[in-house]
Structure formats: structure tokens, C-alpha cells
């Protein structure tokens, strides 16, 4: 057997998924060991993904035909510049899992830890599979792995309210999954193929048909639901706020992005098959702009910090969708960079918020007055994250905002440019409120005064992530340079 890097791509999703099956076995002996095992797996996955990314930069996209069946006769995984998203995915998990070690104590009963860690790995594997596969049915299955594990993770902390939030998530999520399945079925009935590029090529070769347009449209709608774009966001706030903080971080930062990755796939399909989705991308832009403002607007009225962060996700998804909808190089690059940046920032914020909640037992701004003095490091991380999500220079959020805005203005969409720039301002209002309560108000609760910084397994990831928010802000050009070729291909296909 000769080792080839492209075959290693197959292991990227398989590793966490297979390891997930082992978690209950490990946990049988010691629930804590399951945490360690999960961490090692995420770390290995991250290392593999980074190694693959390095290969990718050196020698171009890596493709694996599973079972040796060349597409369209088999399933194809592609580690291209979009698929490289799996590297940050695994890295974020490798930071969230150690955070969860101590966090679970006291918030999740011990006998459910095994399930928690297994679900985390399943989630990771599904996310990676989703971002790598170019087979439509495979895409659907990977999405289901992600979805089911997400539903369960929302409810894992246990109370009935969590179950209700999870069920709302499940009902909408299932409808969207069903739409994907239906679209895949439709495309299959039209072309007899399941490979994305093969389907697109065959669609391009045949006469344009409303059925293909319907398929693409329902795919897009389904992914918009998964991404929680504004009018279809109703499932998100409760689910993300009620879940335990490490889960919120994953859901808000990473899982909603399957909607975005899905939309990119739809763009690829549309581009390669020559189906024009002009009306649809106009709608996307409009909804994106509305989402930016509405998400921020709704966040202002939240007292619960996690609920506030959840609404800010809606606003940020608006940025990304707006960028994708603009379909000009800068905007799309900016949107894709923001997929990463928002993940980074949101994970930072949710973990920091989680630390605060874990250390004080309080979660509303009213109760958390003055917490900046007792938890200076955590709150500093939170502040940095807040600055980044508002898009203040020179943090990570600024880079993406800058490029999406540049795209909007250079495409002549001045109104959207302004919506973007000022939507961010709206976002700022509630973060200022948060910072005020943290730093400039006196503590009213005993718990706040008595709080101490969390253990290092929680503090370390938070600080590392917060530092990354700043570093990425300064060196965001690298990300942009990394993603630009992929965007060029995408838009070239769409332009033809």
C-alpha cells in the first residue's frame, strides 16, 4: 500500500465519526476519560486537517474517490480551498472540548457526559463531511448527522425548556433537510447523477427546465433555514441560548455555517449549470441586509447574555448572506472570510460567557454588574470578542466587514453598503450595554463579588481565542489570499 495524502482526506470525517462510537465504551470505565479521549481525537483531526491544508497550498486540491469509484460512479470528497474549512472546524472543537471538561461538572449530570462527548464528535465529523463532500446525497446525510447531534446537544443539559427549544429546532431543521432531500431527488430524476459537478454539467447540457430551478431554489431555501436567515431564524435564539455554553459556541459559530457552505454549493451548482438565480440573489441580499439590522435590533432587548449572543449570530449571518448575494469578488471573499471570523469570534464570546455563567451562576446583565473586576481575564476576552464582532478595527470582524462593504460599494450597491456599515453600529449598542455592566457598574450580587477566574482548562481556550481575534484582524490578508482563488473559480463559473 502506498500512502497518499488524498486518501487521508477520507479519514478526516471518518476519524471523529468512528471515534464517536468508541466514546461510550471509554466512558464506561471513567466518564472523565471520555473527555480526554474526545480531546485527543479532535486534536488528531485538527492536525490531519492542518497537514492537508498545507498540502493543499503546496500542490492544489486533494480529491478522494471513495472505494476507488471515480465520480460520478462513486462518492467524491474534495479537500479544496472551501473544504479547508474543516481545519478551523476541528481546531475550534479541540478548543471547545477541553473547555467542556470542567464546564460539564455541575451543568450536565455525569451519566450523560459520554453522550455529550460522543455527540460533539459526531457533530464534528458531520460538519467536516458536509464541507468536503461534493456528492449531493452524501451532503444530505452529513447534514443529518450534524442536525441530529445538534438537536440532542441542545437538549443535553436536561430541562424541559431545553427539550422544547430543541424540538422547535428539530421541526424546522427537519423540514429543511426534507427540502434538501427533495431537491436532490429532483436533480437525480432530471440527470440520473448525484455528483454535484456531474449534475451541473448534465443540467447545462440539457434544456433549461423549471424543475432544475425549483430544485436549486428549494436547496437554497433549505440552507437559508439552516443558516437562520432573518425571517426563518425563529428556531435559533432559544436553542442557542438554552444549550450549555460549549454547545452554544459550536452551534452558533460552526453549525449554522452549514447553511452558508450549502449556499456556496448552490452557487456552484447554479454557476456550473448555467441556471440563473438572479431574483434569488437579490432576495438574499435584501434579507441579508434586513437580518443585519433586525438581528442587532432584537439583541438590544435581551438581558440574558447568551440570548443576546444568539441574536447577534442572526445579524452576522446577515453579513455573510449579503456578501454571497452580492456575487462580486471582494464581497464573496469577505463573506467566506467572515464565515471563519464569525466562528472564531462567536466561539470566543460564547466560551467567555460560559465561563462567566459557570463561575457566577448568573446569566443576565442585570445580575452580572461589576463582574469585570472579579473576572478580569475572562471579561477582557469577552470585550475583545465584542469589539471584534462589532467590526472595530483592527480585530477579525473588521476585515470581513471591510471586504463585504467594499464589494457592496464597488458593485454600486451603495444602499447595501450603508446597511452593512450602519447595521454594525446597531450591534454596538448592546455590546456597550454589556461592557457598561461589566466594568462601569457596581456589583449587586454576592456571587459576582465572590467569583474567581475559572480553571485553566477553561481560561486557556478563551484567552487563546481572544488573542486570535486580534491576530486574525492584523493578518486577515492571509485568509483573504487563501480564499480568493476559490472565489475566483466560483464567480467565473457563475459569470459564464
Amino acid at each position: 500500500m502506498t500512502f497518499s495524502w488524498s486518501q487521508a482526506v477520507a479519514w478526516l470525517p471518518v476519524l471523529p465519526l468512528a471515534a464517536a462510537a468508541l466514546v461510550p465504551i471509554v466512558a464506561q470505565r471513567n466518564a472523565r476519560a471520555a473527555g480526554g479521549f474526545t480531546f485527543v481525537v479532535t486534536l488528531l483531526t485538527a492536525a490531519l486537517a492542518v497537514a492537508l491544508t498545507i498540502r493543499l497550498v503546496a500542490e492544489g486540491p486533494l480529491t478522494v474517490h471513495l472505494g476507488g469509484w471515480v465520480a460520478p460512479y462513486g462518492i467524491e470528497l474534495r479537500f479544496d480551498r472551501l473544504g479547508a474549512w474543516s481545519a478551523p472546524l476541528a481546531t475550534f472543537f479541540a478548543l471547545v472540548v477541553p473547555f467542556a471538561w470542567r464546564y460539564l461538572e455541575g451543568s450536565v449530570p455525569r451519566e450523560r457526559w459520554a453522550a455529550f462527548y460522543a455527540l460533539m464528535l459526531l457533530n464534528l465529523g458531520g460538519l467536516i463531511g458536509f464541507s468536503l463532500t461534493v456528492d449531493l446525497f452524501n451532503l444530505f446525510l452529513a447534514m443529518e448527522v450534524v442536525s441530529i447531534s445538534s438537536y440532542a446537544l441542545v437538549a443535553v443539559a436536561g430541562r424541559g425548556t431545553a427539550a422544547w427549544a430543541a424540538l422547535k429546532y428539530l421541526l424546522l431543521g427537519s423540514v429543511s433537510s426534507l427540502l434538501v432531500l427533495f431537491a436532490v431527488a429532483l436533480l437525480f430524476a432530471l440527470t440520473g447523477s448525484l455528483n454535484l459537478f456531474d449534475v451541473a454539467a448534465r443540467l447545462a447540457a440539457s434544456e433549461p427546465s423549471p424543475a432544475a430551478t425549483l430544485a436549486l431554489a428549494s436547496l437554497a431555501v433549505a440552507f437559508v433555514v439552516k443558516a437562520a436567515l432573518f425571517p426563518l431564524h425563529v428556531w435559533l435564539p432559544d436553542a442557542h441560548a438554552i444549550a450549555p455554553s460549549p454547545v452554544s459556541a459550536v452551534l452558533s459559530g460552526l453549525v449554522v455555517k452549514i447553511g452558508i457552505v450549502g449556499l456556496v454549493r448552490v452557487m456552484q451548482l447554479a454557476g456550473e449549470s448555467g441556471i440563473a438565480l438572479d431574483v434569488f440573489s437579490e432576495l438574499l441580499m435584501l434579507l441579508g441586509a434586513v437580518a443585519i439590522v433586525m438581528g442587532a435590533f432584537l439583541a438590544i432587548f435581551q438581558d440574558d447574555i447568551k440570548l443576546m449572543l444568539a441574536y447577534s449570530t442572526i445579524s452576522n449571518i446577515g453579513y455573510i448572506v449579503l456578501g454571497l448575494g452580492l456575487a462580486v469578488p471582494f464581497a464573496v471573499s469577505g463573506a467566506l472570510v467572515h464565515v471563519f471570523n464569525h466562528a472564531l469570534i462567536k466561539v470566543t464570546l460564547f466560551l467567555a460567557a460560559g465561563s462567566i455563567i459557570h463561575q457566577t451562576g448568573l446569566r443576565t446583565l442585570t445580575d452580572l454588574r461589576g463582574v469585570g473586576r472579579t473576572l478580569p481575564q475572562t471579561c477582557a476576552a469577552m470585550t475583545l470578542g465584542a469589539m471584534a464582532i462589532v467590526g472595530l478595527p483592527p480585530t477579525a470582524g473588521f476585515i470581513s466587514k471591510w471586504y463585504i462593504g467594499l464589494g457592496a460599494f464597488s458593485a454600486g450597491r451603495v444602499a447595501y453598503g450603508f446597511a452593512l456599515v450602519f447595521g454594525a453600529l446597531f450591534v454596538f449598542i448592546y455590546y456597550v450595554r454589556m461592557l457598561n455592566t461589566f466594568y462601569f457598574q457596581r456589583a449587586t450580587r454576592e456571587e459576582v463579588v465572590a467569583a474567581v477566574e475559572p480553571p485553566w482548562s477553561m481560561r486557556g481556550p478563551v484567552i487563546a481565542l481572544a488573542a486570535a481575534c486580534l491576530i486574525v484582524g492584523l493578518f486577515g490578508g492571509i485568509l483573504l489570499a487563501f480564499i480568493t482563488p476559490a472565489v475566483g473559480e466560483l464567480l467565473a463559473a457563475m459569470g459564464s
Binding site: 471591510w402 462593504g405 467594499l406 456599515v421 453600529l425 454596538f428 449598542i429
Partner: protein, 521 residues
């Protein structure tokens, strides 16, 4: 000649580092003060070290990070930038000393001095920004760094002021961002150039939108009239902060930004062709007069100072919008003149409040006899504002008038005259009352220096007989900075063309901008 040099980057970095050390030192008073002063002095040294080169015609620049073609974070110390940096870092040293004295017993001093250091660091960053992006970055950082200073007292009133301040300035930042993005998509670059980077081919409408966005954005910080709302309200901040906001960092950053936009983004020629500048000029003229009238009606000293600031800044904006070399020179030197004079006044006001607890103009009767040096400095500053010869303010007015005549803007002279009269109208009564007024038997408020403890409730404090009559000058740590600034006001007014003094750099800056032959060296 362009010289690759680290110093333009080093200048902001030095005090960032010191700010971090201030926070680290936190509990240790000595090291905290040491690093605070260090930040100020080191930066001044760095800035000064560039002075000879700049006078010899060198322009130092430091590219840092290129984000994408045409967009980078880079620093460049041209004459105008250096001028601004020199003014701010000089004043910062003085303000730091004053603040150390003033904030002696306040809470959260580490936070205060830390952000204080960050603040001026960002101002120097603004001064040395090579392009709009870098300028924007530091502009936003400045907003963020000043916020904790504004709300330092942590009272509901301070928080409200902070909220208003942020709302205005963040909106301004958003406008600048939008303007920068439009500039980039219209011009393909953001780097400042002497002849401007935009061209007529971008289309008149687009240019109008860009101009409005950028001017509104910077105008918020410069407190041009409809956008001035935050400034009087932000007066709840401690006096050194007010001094910093109104004389050194924030407002000047706004004016600096506007001049950059006028001369280095659009260019005098393009703007002259487009004619947008005259609208800005008209707005500024209105601001001068309206703000002066408003100042007349304020009794609280700091609020009167705030409105006076608004009016004075508008003078600089107006001068810049005339688009002639002499007026531009006036705009540039006015940055320094107004800064030194205004900061003198703030120091004086702060000292008076510290010593006697008096905050309103009407309470100042007899204070001149009680605190002669402080009030002397105050008087010097006031005379400068009115524009008497031998004081800094006169210089501005002189160049301005010449520039206005060049530009055939005779109406401008009328505005200037009225402004001088109004200035006299609201400063002279104070001075008169301070020296000749009789103390009214009103319930006296005690200053913090006599009050017990830290949080003296100023309204509830009873009268203390100790303050009646007699000399009771401010302590040296407050007095010396005040006097230094006052001395500078006179110096600036009397020694114009001495190399190394701000005026001569200002001249170089103007010559550079207008592409004229170099000044006599």
C-alpha cells in the same frame, strides 16, 4: 524624499507598551506613575527625533501589513502629520503630569492612566497614518479608548454621557468607514497624496456622497454644528480627560481628518472644481457664530469651554475649506494655537474646581486674587482666543484673514470679527469678575482638596470658612503644567518662524500640500 524608518510606527507603539505596563503595575503607585510619564516622554522623544529630518525635507514611512493591493496598514510621517503629532505629544506630557496630580485620590487609576496612554497613542497613530484605512483604525481605537475615560466616574450621569458620546462617535466612524470604502472602490487606493487620490472620472454624485460621508464622519469628532451634541455632555469626565478630549486628542483628530480629506484625499484642485468645500465653509461659519452665542449663555465653566471649543474648531475647518495656501496655513497652526490655549483654560478651570469646588462662571468672583497664577494663565488663554496680537490666537486670525482675502471671501472677515467680539464677550466678564468682583455670600462649596474622603458629594458639602479670602494657589503639580501651556501660548504668538517651532513645520506642510517651492530653511 521618502525614508524607510521605524519611528512612525514606534511612536504609537511605545505608549501602547507603556499603557500595558501601567495596567500591570496597577497597585504600585510609583511604577504606575513612572510608566505613565514614560509613555508620554518616550513618545515625545521619538516624535522630536524625527523633527530635524522633517525640517530637512525627509518623509519617514513604515509599511506594516498589506491586506490586499492598494490596502495596507502603513505609517508615514509627513510634515503635517509630524506637526500634529508634535502638538499632541507635547501637550500629553503636560496633561499627564497634571492628571497625576488631579487624579491622586480617584478610583481605578490604573484603568484611567492605561487608557489615557492608549488615547494619545492612537492620536499619534492618526497623525502618522499613511492612508485612510490606518487613519480609520486609529480613529476607531481612539473612540474605544476614550470611552472608559468619559465614564470614569461610573455615575449614571457619566454612563449616559458615555452612551451619547459613543453613539455619536461610532456613527461617525461608520461614516468614515463607508466613505473609505467608497473612496477605495472609486480610486483603487487609500494612500494620502498631496494632490488627492480621487478624480473627476468617479462621477460628481459619487464624489458628493464620499465627501459627505467622510466629512460627516470626521465632523462628528470635530463637533461641527449639527454634530456637536456629544461634546458639552461629555463634560462630566474628569478635567484632564476634558482637556484631552477637547484640546488634544479627539476633536483635533476630527479636524485633522477633515483636512486630510480635503487636501490629501480630494485635493484642493478637485474640490475647487467641485465646489463642495464652500458648503462646508458655510456650515463652519454658522457653527462659529452659533456656538459662540451658545457659549455666552452657559454659566457652567466647562460647558462654556465646550461651546468655545466647538466654535474654535469650526475656525480651523473653515480655514481648511477656503483651499488657499495661507488659509491652509492658518488651519494648521490653529490646531496648535487652539490646543495650547484651550488646555490652559481647562487646567485652570480644573485647578479652581479642585481648590474651591467652584464650577460656574458666576461663582468666580475674587478668585483671581486667591489663585493669581492660575487665573493669570487663564487670562493669557482668553486673550489668545480673542485674538490680541502677541498671543497665539492672533496668528491664526492673521493668516486666516490673509487667506480669506486671497480667496475673495470677504464675508469671512466679518465672521472672524464677530467671533472675536463674541469671544471677548464671554471671556472678559469672567476675568473681570475674577479680579475685581466681590465675593458674594453664597453657600460656598468646598473643593475636593478640603473635602474628607474620596467621594465628596459636591452639592451637599457645607461651606468652609477656610476658603474665604487669602491666597491659596493650586499645588505645583497642577500649576506648573498650566503655566507651561500659558507660556507656550505666548511663545507661539511671538516667535513665528523659528525652526523647530510648530509654525515652521506647518509652513512645510502647507508648501508640500500645495506643491509650492520649499520654504526658506
Amino acid at each position: 524624499m521618502e525614508v524607510l524608518d521605524l519611528r512612525p510606527l514606534l511612536a504609537p507603539l511605545v505608549s501602547f507598551a507603556c499603557a500595558a505596563l501601567v495596567v500591570v503595575a496597577r497597585k504600585n503607585v510609583f511604577w504606575r506613575r513612572f510608566w505613565s510619564l514614560c509613555a508620554a516622554v518616550l513618545k515625545l522623544v521619538v516624535v522630536l527625533s524625527m523633527l530635524p529630518g522633517t525640517l530637512a525635507g525627509a518623509v519617514y514611512h513604515t509599511p506594516v501589513i498589506t491586506l490586499s493591493p492598494g490596502v495596507s496598514i502603513a505609517f508615514r510621517a509627513d510634515a503635517y502629520g509630524l506637526f500634529f503629532a508634535l502638538v499632541t505629544s507635547t501637550l500629553w506630557v503636560v496633561t499627564t503630569i497634571y492628571a497625576i496630580g488631579y487624579m491622586e485620590r480617584a478610583e481605578q487609576r490604573a484603568r484611567f492612566f492605561g487608557f489615557f496612554a492608549v488615547c494619545v497613542s492612537t492620536t499619534v497613530g492618526i497623525a502618522f497614518a499613511e492612508n485612510l484605512l490606518t487613519l480609520l483604525i486609529f480613529f476607531e481605537l481612539l473612540t474605544v479608548a476614550t470611552y472608559p475615560l468619559v465614564v470614569h466616574a461610573e455615575t449614571p450621569e457619566a454612563l449616559r454621557a458615555g452612551r451619547i458620546y459613543l453613539t455619536y462617535t461610532m456613527a461617525g466612524g461608520a461614516f468614515v468607514l463607508a466613505g473609505s470604502l467608497m473612496t477605495l472602490s472609486a480610486a483603487g487606493t487609500l494612500s494620502f497624496a498631496h494632490a488627492g487620490i480621487l478624480g473627476l472620472d468617479a462621477g460628481r454624485a459619487t464624489l458628493a456622497v464620499i465627501f459627505m460621508a467622510l466629512v460627516i464622519g470626521f465632523g462628528v469628532k470635530a463637533a461641527i454644528m449639527p454634530l456637536h451634541g456629544w461634546l458639552p455632555i461629555a463634560m462630566v469626565a474628569p478635567t484632564p480627560v476634558s482637556a484631552l478630549l477637547h484640546a488634544v486628542a479627539v476633536v483635533k483628530a476630527g479636524v485633522f481628518g477633515i483636512t486630510r480629506v480635503i487636501y490629501n484625499v480630494f485635493g484642493a484642485d478637485l474640490l475647487g472644481e467641485l465646489g463642495f468645500a464652500s458648503y462646508l465653509g458655510a456650515l463652519a461659519a454658522c457653527t462659529i457664530l452659533v456656538a459662540s452665542v451658545m457659549a455666552l449663555r452657559q454659566d457652567q465653566l466647562k460647558r462654556r469651554l465646550a461651546y468655545s471649543t466647538i466654535s474654535q474648531l469650526a475656525v480651523a475647518v473653515l480655514a481648511a475649506s477656503l483651499l488657499t495656501p495661507l488659509a491652509a496655513l492658518a488651519a494648521v497652526v490653529h490646531l496648535a494655537n487652539q490646543a495650547f490655549a484651550k488646555i490652559t483654560m481647562f487646567f485652570g478651570t480644573g485647578a479652581v474646581r479642585e481648590m474651591t469646588g467652584k464650577t460656574h462662571a458666576s461663582q468666580l468672583a475674587g478668585i483671581g486674587r486667591q489663585m493669581p497664577y492660575t487665573m493669570g494663565a487663564f487670562t493669557v488663554a482668553a486673550l489668545s482666543f480673542v485674538g490680541l496680537p502677541l498671543f497665539a490666537g492672533f496668528k491664526t486670525k492673521w493668516y486666516l484673514s490673509l487667506g480669506a482675502l486671497h480667496a475673495d471671501a470677504w464675508w469671512f472677515l466679518v465672521v472672524m470679527l464677530l467671533s472675536s467680539l463674541l469671544n471677548a464677550a464671554y471671556w472678559f466678564p469672567i476675568i473681570h469678575r475674577a479680579y475685581y468682583g466681590q465675593r458674594v455670600a453664597q453657600p460656598e462649596r468646598s473643593g475636593r482638596r478640603q473635602g474628607a474622603g474620596l467621594d465628596v458629594d459636591r452639592d451637599a458639602a457645607g461651606a468652609t470658612a477656610a476658603s474665604a479670602g487669602g491666597k491659596r494657589e493650586a499645588p505645583l503639580v497642577l500649576l506648573v503644567p498650566t503655566l507651561i501651556c500659558a507660556a507656550y501660548v505666548i511663545l507661539l504668538g511671538t516667535t513665528a518662524a523659528v525652526p523647530g517651532m510648530p509654525t515652521s513645520i506647518a509652513l512645510i506642510a502647507v508648501y508640500e500640500t500645495f506643491g509650492l517651492a520649499g520654504p526658506v530653511r
